[in-house]
């Protein structure tokens, strides 16, 4: 996951690599995703999120399109 100056830079980066465009989110969405994903990582009782927990996290920040579907 890379940070770009704007959508035009994303398009240019994808075109230069002949890659299909993925999805862009705002840095604030990325922060909320990172916070939900990693805030417990240092805890001794840390465990990986379940599929359902990850789906809840993604949808809580508005990531609900097919691109964010974890089930294929």
């Amino acid at each position: 996951m890379l940070l770009f100056r704007d959508e035009e830079h994303v398009d240019r980066w994808c075109a230069a690599r002949d890659l299909a465009r993925g999805a862009t989110i705002t840095p604030d969405q990325a922060w909320r995703l990172a916070e939900g994903w990693y805030k417990n990582k240092l805890r001794p009782d840390w465990r990986r999120h379940t599929l359902e927990e990850t789906e809840t996290l993604l949808s809580s920040i508005g990531l609900t399109s097919a691109f964010w579907n974890l089930r294929g």
Partner: protein, 154 residues
């Protein structure tokens, strides 16, 4: 579950706790020889535990030498995604992990990263649990279902 399996599971937990505490406390991700010395276990046992942790997606091993590449969100080697937090310097393997470092250490943080296209540096800032300085957009090239197919590319 055999005694050997239970022992490996217990060691993997100890290794995980040690690795992440050290990474957060120092900004340096310890490798197998360091972990072996710290926990008083053989390096072979520690490497087996690291492979178990990688299989559980608790961390990522480098493909060539089996060293920890990222005790994600803490990258073991310098990268373009720098995080200054709690008086220390950290690196993430991507912008998600760079932000994740601020979340994991629970600290205010300044994150600097280059534009993936043109390389111009950008700065994000986390303060009191909020992103208070922001610029740019974050691009995910890989659909969520395929993130772990090739985590290095993702």
């Amino acid at each position: 579950m055999t005694e050997d399996t239970k022992d490996l599971d217990t060691l993997a937990r100890d290794v995980r706790i040690h690795v992440f505490r050290e990474a957060a406390a120092t900004g340096q991700v310890p490798q197998a020889p360091d972990i072996s010395r710290a926990l008083g276990r053989s390096e072979a046992d520690v490497r087996a535990a690291l492979h178990e942790l990688a299989a559980a997606k608790a961390l990522i091993l480098a493909p060539n030498d089996g060293n920890i590449w990222s005790a994600n969100p803490f990258c073991a080697v310098p990268s373009g995604f720098r995080v200054a937090a709690a008086g220390k310097q950290y690196w993430g393997i991507c912008i998600w992990d760079a932000l994740g470092i601020a979340a994991a250490v629970g600290s205010d943080a300044i994150i600097t990263a280059p534009c993936g296209d043109c390389g111009v540096g950008m700065t994000l800032e986390v303060r009191d649990g909020h992103l208070v300085r922001t610029e740019g957009v974050v691009h995910f090239a890989v659909r969520a279902h395929h993130w772990w197919d090739n985590i290095g590319f993702t």
